[in-house]
Every structure is written in structure tokens, then in C-alpha cells.
């Protein structure tokens, strides 16, 4: 019996190969976008994890020299002999590769390389070993160490014994920092007594890099989710149609004695097989998408945040399994409704025509949409936390998409009421008639467009904000770091005569008191200079903020501190014991996880007399930069200690260009998927519409004219989608920038609008829809008259 049911059900696909293709392609494309984005994210995260494990910078406290000064090996041994459980690390650049030297015996348990290294005898005995990924090893210069391929190590990083690293870097006896084990013995002598030049840096909660790049990944994840939603709409449409068309067959089968249970299970099995097939293809496609985009993503992250991500994609079981799971799950969600209604279908009920079914659903759609949109609005106003932010995003998108068909129906109703002339009236009526069959595809297009508008707005806003921020923060033409106070004095002496202004960067890290028991922050001393007055912009500030600051009448704080400590303008901030100053202004400090306070230079020097400026911003004409650089080099300043503002900006812009490559590629892909959905819907409708078109044709409208009207209809509907997608996309962008970003990172990105981009996107959507409609229209124009006549012959 089951075999008969199976062969009957499969016969449907044999006769509707196109539908089968739609279903599989929709599943595959949705899964591809989802798993592609996931793959990129997973790869990048794995890279950070490896980096974090390599150094464990976040989890462990560290001891460093003041101002990054080198630690001597003798000091390390002195600390050990005083009871400090510390482990030395040296880092340096070896042929462009970051070389990390560690000491495996003292490294705290769980620090990556020790376990990665495994065999201590090999690591320390005989010919020493160096561990890195294969591609990193290939870039290392030839040397007398044994290369060991180790994929768990961070990209562009090589790990070896500290003794070997000191030799390779030409830094015998030197250590860059000490990892402090979490458990320390009793009776340790105080650090200040053994090594007064060293400072203990408390462990951080989460690495800087991870926190910064989270922002980027959040964007990608949102994109991936939206893409999958688009795919889901396609799948839902295809499955719904296939079930709808087989209602008659199911009724017949049941009338012939097939138990409902068998039919349902066979159909479930069929869906699972289809989901697995489509999912497998999708994961493979996603791998392709990820592999194509990953080098650009890696370049973006490296440039933007200094995070090293391997440009190579590893096939991780987690993401291909999750890709398959999401395909099956998506199919399940899409097919559940259809199966449910099939299971409840009365045996003798007629196979209902679609229109009635959808008409019944239209009101439900409108209600659901209204509820979701209200929920989204409520979450935006009252929601707290990242989860609420995402829930709001989801409710907004799905609500927006579901609201589309009812709204379009209203618009079409108005159009029909105003139509003059028989053809126009027929056109509007026919469009309304088609709406149910097309609405899923249109919703997919709507989601794709909204996602594109939202993500493009966010990325472009980010770019504008960030470059503006760079202009503000990097106002000086050249930045230079001195090794010690002596060199700093030399630099100032030389520069005073050569440049327009020397702006010292005075910095100290303190717990800022006064708010919620104290928050760690960087305190800066700023010289009263036009550079700051001209370039800095505030989110909020008192009038004449710079004048008040220069008088020592207050402090400036960054947005992170402002949000974290719940400060307001005028709130008092304790910057030193007994010294509290009011907040004068709040400035954006994008990408920085740490709170900041800015004092005027005189107040800073009075409070922190021991702090010597080792970094300087030099103002000068752009043409003088090369000459000053050369003079600094003569003073012994290393090339890496000088940062050219123009170079930074060039790098930043190059990075953003990479970002746009990624975003544009994803934009085009989602639009292509949505276009595909339209094409498939139209092709499916084409066959069913023949009985409706035949009478119109018989009344004198040529096939060409009918085809042209069909094309126009699709483009018109796409234009309607575009009109609605714009506000939805902007709402999405706002939610990402002002809600999710603040919840996730503690700073809000200002939102900018890019009308030209939206216009271009709208154009792309129309082109996608037009292209999708072209083939069905062409087929309609060529449909043999005999076939149209046949409609009358078979008329029941």
C-alpha cells in the first residue's frame, strides 16, 4: 500500500519537474546564503579563539614594563625566585609573521601553545620546533628549526620556545611580558619591591579584538538570518503549492483505501529527502560563497581591527551540520502547515480552488502582521538587552513581510475602483487574482530588499562615522612614539622648531570614582589647541565646552563611560583622590571598549606629575611630513613608531572598500534569490492562468499584449515592494544601529541616509523582477493558439 502511495505521490514530481526544481533550488539557495555567512563567521571566530588561546590575553593578569618597555630575563628569574608564578612571553615580527616565544614549563595550565605543542621533548630537546599553520610556515624564512604544522594556532602566528624566539628575533635575554598564573603562592614579595619598573595589568573580560569584531559579525549574522528567511519563503511557497496541487490526489488515494497515516508519513519522508538534497547542495554552494568572500572579510577584519583571520576556509563539521539542520528545520516549518491542513482535510471535500484558501488566509495574515509589528514597537520602546533587540528585529521583519499582501490588496482594490476602460479593469482584477500565488515570492523580495537597505545603511553609516572619527582623532599629520623620556625630549626639541605644534599624548589608567563605585578608564591630558577645537564633535556638550575645559572646569568622557556609568552632563567624575570634576561633553569613541576621560593638560599634569608623555601628535603642512620623518629617523625613532595620518586614512578607506565588496556581493545574491522566487512563482502560475487568459485572448487582446501586460504587472508589483521595503529597511537599520549595537557594544552609531544607494537598489530589484518575468512573458507570447482554444474545448 505504502509503495502505491509513494509511487502516486512521486508521479506528481515526475510531471512537475520545474516545481521540484523550484523547491530544491529555493532550499539550496536559502541554505547556501545562511551557511555561507555562518562559515565566514565561524572561520573568523575560530581565528580569534586561536589567537586568544595563543596568548590568553584576556583571561590572565599580565606583568609588563612601563610604556611597553622590555623586561630583562634577570628580572623574570628574580620574580620567580621571589615566589611569583609568572611565565615569560616574547613577541616579534619574523618575515611578516608574528613570532611568539613561550616557556612551556611555567605557562599557566590551559594556555594554548602548551597543549598545542604536546610533546615537550620535541619542543625543548634537540632541534627545536616551531608551530604554525601550514600557510604561515610557508612564509617563514628558512632557519634551523623543525616546522610543525598545527592548525589550531592563530593565523599568521608561529609559536616556539622562548629561547629560540629570542635567537630568531635577535633579542637575547629579553622578555616582552609575563603571564601571571591565576593561583599564586603565599609569602610573595610585593611586585614594587622586586621590580618597581613593572606594572601588573588586571585580566580583561573578553579580548578587545573579539569585542570589536563582534560588531562586524553581528552584521553578517543578521544578513545570514535574513537570507535564510528569504529562502524559507521560497520553500514555503513551493511546498505549499505542491501540497495544494496534490490535494485531489491525496483524496483519491484515501478514497482507494490508503490510510491517512501512511500518506502523511510518506509525504514527511519525501520532504525530509528533499530537504536533505536541497540542504546538501546549499551547503556546498554556501561553501563556495564563503570561500569567495572570505579573503575580503579577512582583509576587512585585519584592516579594521587588526584581527588576523585566515583567508583559507576550513570545512568545519559544525557549520555544515548546522546548514543541513537549518534546511531540514526550514522545510519542516514550511511544510508543517501544509501537512496539518492535509491531515484535517475531510475525505469527501472537494479540492478547493486556491483563491478561496488564500482569501481565508488574508485576514489572518493581516492580524498576525499587526500583532508582530505591535510587538516590535513595544520591544523597541520597553525592551532591554540584546535578545530583546534581536526579537524586535525579527518581529519587525516578519511583521513587515506579512503586512505586505493585505496592504497590496488594498492598493489593488483602489486601483481597480479607479480603473477606466475594460482592459485596465481586467488588468487590476487579474492582478488581484494573481496576488495569492505571487505573494510569497513578493514577500521574499520585500525581505531581501529590506535587508539590503538595512545592511547597506548600516555599513555606509559605519563608514561615514568611522572616517569622521578618524578625522577627529587623527587630526595631527604625524604621530610619533618615543622609547623613553630621553628620546621624548629629543623629539620635542627637534619638532618644536620644525612643526606648527607638538601635542603630547598624556595617558594614565585609573579607576574613575564617583559613579557606581568606580569604573576603570583611561585618563588623557589634552593641550588647549585649535586642533581639538576644530576637529572634535560631541554627542552632547555644554556651550563653550573647550573654554571651560581649558579653565580646568570639567572633563570630557567618551560614550562608553557615559553609558556604562550612567553619566549625564554636569555629573561629577572623580579623576584622582579628592578631585571631582563635572562632565562637560560626551564624544563618540567607536570601537573602543574602554571608558575614557579627558582633562586639560594643566589639570592632568597637576594630578599625575609622574606621567611623562611618550607619544606626540605633530601638526604641520602635509608637504613637510616626509622631511620631519627623516629627521625623526635620524634621532633613532623606528619606522614603526611613526604613524602617518594620510597612510592610516588610506588603509581605512581601503578596508571599507573591501567591506563594500562583501556587502554588495551579498546584496546581489539575496536579490538574485528573490528574483528566482518570482520566476518560479510566475512559471507555476502560468500553467494555471491559461483558462483565465484564454477568454481575454478570445476577446481580442493579442498574446504579445498579454505578455507585455504580465511583464508590466510584475515590474509594478516589484515597484510596490520597493516602496514598502524602504521604510522597512530603514527601520531595520535603525534597529541595528540604535538598539542592537548599543546593547551589544555600548555605543550607538549615528544613522545616515543614502538616497542614491536606495534608488540603485530599487532599480536592481525592478531589474531582478523584470528579468524573472521575462521568460514567462516570452512563453506566454509564444503559447500556441491551439492551446488557448483548448481551454474552451475542455471547459467543464
Amino acid at each position: 500500500m505504502r509503495r502505491a502511495v509513494l509511487s502516486a505521490l512521486l508521479a506528481h514530481w515526475r510531471h512537475n519537474l520545474l516545481q521540484l526544481f523550484t523547491l530544491l533550488a529555493g532550499l539550496a539557495l536559502g541554505t547556501a546564503l545562511w551557511s555561507g555567512v555562518q562559515a565566514i563567521n565561524a572561520e573568523a571566530r575560530a581565528s580569534y579563539d586561536a589567537a586568544a588561546a595563543t596568548l590568553d590575553e584576556g583571561r590572565l593578569a599580565q606583568i609588563t614594563g612601563r610604556e611597553g618597555a622590555v623586561i630583562s630575563q634577570a628580572t623574570y628569574v628574580a620574580l620567580r625566585r621571589a615566589g611569583w608564578a609568572v611565565s615569560p612571553v616574547i613577541e616579534g615580527d619574523l618575515g611578516g609573521v608574528r613570532l611568539v616565544g613561550i616557556e612551556p614549563l611555567t605557562a599557566p595550565r590551559g594556555v594554548g601553545p602548551v597543549s598545542a605543542v604536546g610533546d615537550l621533548t620535541g619542543f625543548l630537546g634537540g632541534v627545536r620546533q616551531i608551530f604554525a599553520r601550514a600557510d604561515t610556515l610557508a612564509r617563514l624564512p628558512a632557519m634551523a628549526v623543525r616546522a610543525v604544522v598545527s592548525p589550531s594556532i592563530a593565523p599568521n602566528t608561529a609559536i616556539t620556545d622562548i629561547g629560540v624566539a629570542q635567537g630568531l628575533l635577535g633579542r637575547a635575554g629579553q622578555i616582552d611580558r609575563l603571564l601571571v598564573a591565576p593561583v599564586q603562592p603565599l609569602n610573595r614579595a610585593p611586585l614594587a619591591q622586586i621590580a618597581p619598573d613593572l606594572v601588573l595589568v588586571a585580566p580583561q573580560t573578553g579580548s578587545d579584538v573579539a569585542r570589536l569584531t563582534d560588531s562586524f559579525h553581528l552584521n553578517l549574522t543578521a544578513f545570514g538570518l535574513l537570507s535564510f528567511a528569504v529562502g524559507l519563503f521560497i520553500v514555503h511557497g513551493a511546498i505549499g503549492l505542491a501540497f495544494e496541487q496534490r490535494r485531489a490526489m491525496v483524496r483519491t488515494l484515501r478514497a482507494l483505501g490508503a490510510p491517512l497515516r501512511s500518506v502523511i508519513w510518506v509525504m514527511v519522508g519525501e520532504l525530509v529527502v528533499l530537504a536533505l538534497l536541497g540542504g546538501a547542495v546549499g551547503v556546498a554552494l554556501g561553501y563556495g560563497v564563503a570561500a569567495a568572500l572570505l579573503p575580503d572579510v579577512a582583509a576587512t577584519l585585519r584592516g579594521l581591527y587588526g584581527a588576523d583571520v585566515s583567508g583559507q576556509l576550513a570545512l568545519r563539521p559544525v557549520w555544515w551540520l548546522s546548514g543541513m539542520a537549518i534546511a531540514v528545520l526550514g522545510t519542516g516549518v514550511a511544510g508543517a502547515g501544509a501537512l496539518w491542513s492535509l491531515a484535517r482535510m475531510p475525505l469527501l471535500a472537494a479540492a478547493q480552488p486556491q483563491a478561496g484558501l488564500v482569501a481565508r488566509g488574508a485576514r489572518g495574515l493581516a492580524v498576525t502582521a499587526a500583532v508582530l509589528l505591535a510587538l516590535s514597537g513595544g520591544l523597541a520602546v520597553w525592551g532591554q538587552g540584546l535578545i530583546a533587540g534581536f526579537a524586535m528585529l525579527g518581529a519587525l521583519l516578519i511583521g513587515g513581510a506579512l503586512a505586505f499582501p493585505p496592504m497590496l490588496a488594498v492598493v489593488l482594490g483602489i486601483g481597480a475602483a479607479r480603473a477606466r476602460g475594460p482592459v485596465a479593469q481586467w488588468f487590476w482584477a487579474d492582478t488581484r487574482q494573481q496576488l495569492p500565488g505571487l505573494s510569497l515570492a513578493l514577500m521574499a523580495l520585500l525581505l531581501a530588499m529590506a535587508a539590503n537597505v538595512g545592511v547597506s545603511t548600516m555599513v555606509s553609516s559605519f563608514r561615514l562615522t568611522f572616517t569622521g572619527f578618524l578625522d577627529q582623532r587623527l587630526a595631527s599629520e604625524l604621530y610619533v612614539s618615543a622609547v623613553d623620556a630621553g628620546q621624548a625630549a629629543q623629539i620635542v626639541g627637534m619638532a618644536d622648531a620644525r612643526v606648527a605644534a607638538v601635542l603630547p599624548v598624556l595617558e594614565v589608567e585609573r579607576v574613575v570614582a564617583g559613579v557606581a563605585g568606580g569604573v576603570p578608564a583611561q585618563i588623557y591630558g589634552a593641550r588647549d589647541h585649535a586642533t581639538y577645537r576644530d576637529n572634535w564633535q560631541f554627542l552632547q556638550a555644554v556651550p563653550q565646552v573647550w573654554d571651560v575645559l581649558a579653565r580646568g572646569g570639567g572633563v570630557l568622557v567618551n560614550e562608553q563611560l557615559y553609558r556604562r556609568a550612567g553619566l549625564e552632563l554636569g555629573a561629577m567624575v572623580g579623576v584622582a583622590p579628592g578631585v571631582s570634576l563635572p562632565v562637560l561633553g560626551i564624544y563618540g569613541d567607536y570601537g573602543n571598549p574602554v571608558g575614557q576621560v579627558i582633562l586639560t593638560e594643566t589639570v592632568f599634569v597637576a594630578q599625575f606629575p609622574d606621567v611623562v608623555a611618550l607619544r606626540f601628535g605633530l601638526r604641520m603642512d602635509a608637504g613637510d611630513v616626509a622631511g620631519v620623518r627623516a629627521s625623526l629617523r635620524d634621532l633613532g625613532v623606528a619606522g614603526g613608531a611613526m604613524i602617518d595620518q594620510a597612510a592610516i586614512k588610506a588603509v581605512s578607506l581601503a578596508v571599507f572598500d573591501r567591506t563594500f565588496v562583501v556587502t554588495t556581493a551579498l546584496n546581489i545574491l539575496t536579490l538574485a534569490v528573490a528574483g528566482f522566487a518570482i520566476l518560479m512563482s510566475l512559471l507555476t502560475l502560468a500553467a494555471m492562468r491559461l483558462p483565465q487568459l484564454a477568454p481575454v485572448w478570445a476577446l481580442g487582446l493579442t498574446r504579445r499584449r498579454l505578455a507585455a501586460l504580465d511583464l508590466a504587472r510584475t515590474v509594478m508589483l516589484a515597484a510596490g515592494v520597493a516602496v514598502l521595503a524602504l521604510p522597512l529597511g530603514l527601520a531595520l537599520a535603525w534597529a541595528l544601529l540604535a538598539v542592537v549595537n548599543v546593547e551589544a557594544f555600548g555605543w550607538r552609531l549615528p544613522m545616515y541616509l543614502f538616497p542614491l544607494d536606495y534608488l540603485r537598489l530599487g532599480g536592481l530589484a525592478l531589474i531582478a523582477a523584470g528579468l524573472a518575468a521575462l521568460w514567462p512573458a516570452w512563453r506566454l507570447a509564444r503559447v500556441p493558439p491551439a492551446q488557448l482554444l483548448g481551454v474552451f474545448r475542455h471547459e467543464r
Partner: protein, 349 residues
């Protein structure tokens, strides 16, 4: 299993847990032939032989002590410095193939505190000099003007000790003038002890500082040779009887157990006893760190009329170090009474 056996054979207290370290200490990658081997008839030279022998693969300075507080409460203490060479040589700086490991412990009736240190040779973080004597790793040290007058310090996260050791008797050479055979096949080590230290000093415990006095026993041993493949662990006893006599005995467990013992009279006269003269039988076991370990033993040395029961002061004296083993103070009853220390390896199932 092979790796485990090799590690066991190479160094009593170094077994396989932190695999990397254990492998390193075992020196598996190094040809055994490059290292020096103990020689029967080699006359030990002091103070030179108190120092390190980098041409041998393994070596230790192993001190255990039985002590009492002002109220008579018994305590046990362990301080051990192990040396393991990846190659039979000393090298400068990080290139040195010498690795060092320190273990310290304090045992009470109901608590056992353990700490461990690891260090590279060549950079000054750990080492041993013979005269003046100084054995150190990080802030732990056993040092003094000579081998008979030492100050011993160590600290962990929960405990510390700082005690003085005064030798009240001569050095004791085990086996054939310090050449101690470890298996029927002839593997051996150089092995001598100073079992006559009087101890006084202070323990720092979570409950506070405790002044202690007692007696300590220092073992010195170095070797390069693995034991026989079928030897899986050993039980080692150092006992100080109330009569003033002392006794060292061990059983190397294997297909054929191998035993050895040294009788040390109160005046320091030494007699070595051959394989089979000494026997140790487990009488009761305790569940320790997820395994069954014998913590009450029946010991017999008929040649000296010894028939005693040895009971752990604290059955849970498990050394949860990178290479775990059992080591703790014991109480002796039966034909003789006294105190001592018990070390057991190879019970990690």
C-alpha cells in the same frame, strides 16, 4: 602502558599525567646510551656528589619529615627537587637540556596540601650547588653552609613552611657503597641518604602558624637506566624506630617482585639486605583520588626481627601533581614502634 612503565622506571615519582611534562622528564626522545650509567665501585665524593650530575638522566633531592606541634599533633612534610635531562650535558641559558621539578607537601591527620613547580635549567630559576649547599626552584630552597646545616623553605597557595635541619649522624650509603640495584636484571642507581636530621621550624597552614619539631630523612639518588619492562610501580618505606634504629625498604612490583632494604643502627652502622630479605604485604586499602591504594601494610625483615604494621597518618595523602603518586607520613606498630614515610607509585588505574 609501555610509556607508563618507562616513565616509572626512570623516575620514581614521575608518572604519566601531564603527558608533555612526563615525556620530557622521561627523556624518551633521547638515546639512553648517551647518558652516564651508575658504576659499581664508584666511590661517592662529598661534598661534590651533593650537587647535580647533569650527565645522568634523572636525579633527586628528596626530603621527608615526621614532626609534632606543641600539643603533640603529628604532621608530615615533603620537599623534593627532581632533575631530568633531555640530553647528558649542561647548556647555557634556554639551550640547557636540564629540566627541574619541585614538589612540596604538608600532611595533617585530615588534610594534605600540595604544591608543584617546574623550571628550565640554564637561566638560574632552579639548580643545585654542592658547597655551600643550595638546592632551589623558584622561591623554594634547601640551603645552608654545608649539607649538615640546612634551611628548608617552600610555599603553595594554601601553605608554607620554613624549617631548620641539623644532621645528628653520618650519611648512609645504600646497597654496595651507594650502588643500589633496582632489578634482578641489574639496573641500578647511586643512592645515599641523610636520615639523621633533627628538625625545628614553622608550618603555615590555613588554620594558622604551627611551631614544629621532629626528624627528617633526605634521600639522594641519580641514575639513567630504565628498570625492567614488567615493573609497574613500587612501595618505598623509610622508618625511624623509637629505639633510634632506622630502616629503608622498597618493593619494585612486577612479574617477579624485587625488594631491597637497608638497616641503619642508631649509631649509623649500615647493613644492606639483599632481594627477598624484606617483604611488604598490603593489609588494607583506601579509596584515594578515584583509585584503591594500600594504606596499611605488614612489613617483615626477619633478619632484624622486624614484624610491624605500618599505617598511614592520613590515607588521602595523594600528590595531585602533574605526575601523581601517594606520599605521606606513617605510624609504625608491632615488634617495633615509630614513625616514617611511605611512597607508592603505579596505583593509577
Amino acid at each position: 602502558m609501555n610509556v607508563k612503565v618507562l616513565v616509572l622506571c626512570l623516575m620514581p615519582c614521575l608518572m604519566l599525567s601531564l603527558q608533555a611534562v612526563a615525556q620530557g622528564f622521561a627523556g624518551l626522545g633521547t638515546a639512553a646510551g648517551d647518558f652516564s650509567n651508575p658504576l659499581r665501585g664508584r666511590v661517592l665524593q662529598f661534598p661534590a656528589d651533593h650537587g647535580a650530575h647533569p650527565d645522568f638522566r634523572i636525579e633527586w633531592w628528596y626530603l621527608t619529615a615526621n614532626m609534632t606541634g606543641p600539643d603533640g599533633t603529628p604532621y608530615g612534610l615533603q620537599w623534593t627537587l627532581f632533575r631530568s635531562a633531555l640530553a647528558p650535558e649542561e647548556g647555557a641559558g634556554w639551550a640547557s637540556p636540564q629540566l627541574w621539578m619541585g614538589h612540596a607537601a604538608v600532611t595533617t591527620r585530615d588534610a594534605h596540601f600540595v604544591a608543584e613547580r617546574l623550571a628550565r635549567g640554564g637561566i638560574g630559576q632552579a639548580g643545585v650547588t654542592a658547597a655551600p649547599f643550595n638546592a632551589w626552584i623558584d622561591d623554594w630552597a634547601m640551603a645552608g653552609p654545608d649539607f649538615g646545616n640546612l634551611r628548608l623553605t617552600a610555599a603553595g597557595a594554601e601553605f608554607a613552611f620554613d624549617v631548620d635541619l641539623r644532621a645528628q649522624g653520618p650519611l648512609v650509603l645504600h646497597g654496595d657503597a651507594g650502588y643500589s640495584v633496582k632489578s634482578a636484571a641489574g639496573q641500578a642507581s647511586h643512592y645515599y641518604s641523610q636520615p639523621f636530621y633533627a628538625l625545628s621550624g614553622q608550618l603555615t597552614l590555613p588554620s594558622g602558624d604551627v611551631a614544629v619539631t621532629g626528624q627528617a630523612w633526605l634521600d639522594r639518588e641519580w641514575s639513567s637506566q630504565p628498570l625492567a619492562q614488567d615493573q609497574t610501580g613500587w612501595d618505598w618505606f623509610s622508618l625511624s624506630f623509637d629505639s633510634g634504629d632506622k630502616m629503608m625498604g622498597f618493593v619494585l612490583r612486577g612479574g617477579q617482585d624485587y625488594t631491597s632494604a637497608t638497616w641503619i643502627a642508631a649509631d649509623g652502622a649500615v647493613s644492606a639486605l639483599p632481594d627477598g630479605a624484606f617483604s611488604a604485604v598490603p593489609l588494607a586499602r583506601s579509596r584515594v583520588a578515584g583509585r584503591d591504594v594500600p594504606t596499611t601494610w605488614g612489613l617483615r625483615l626477619p633478619a632484624r626481627g622486624v614484624d610491624v604494621t605500618v599505617t598511614a597518618l592520613n590515607t588521602q595523602a595523594w600528590m595531585a601533581t602533574s605526575v601523581p603518586y601517594w606520599e605521606g607520613p606513617v605510624v609504625v606498630s608491632g615488634s617495633h614502634t615509630g614513625v616514617g614515610y611511605l611512597e607508592m607509585t603505579g596505583y593509577d588505574d
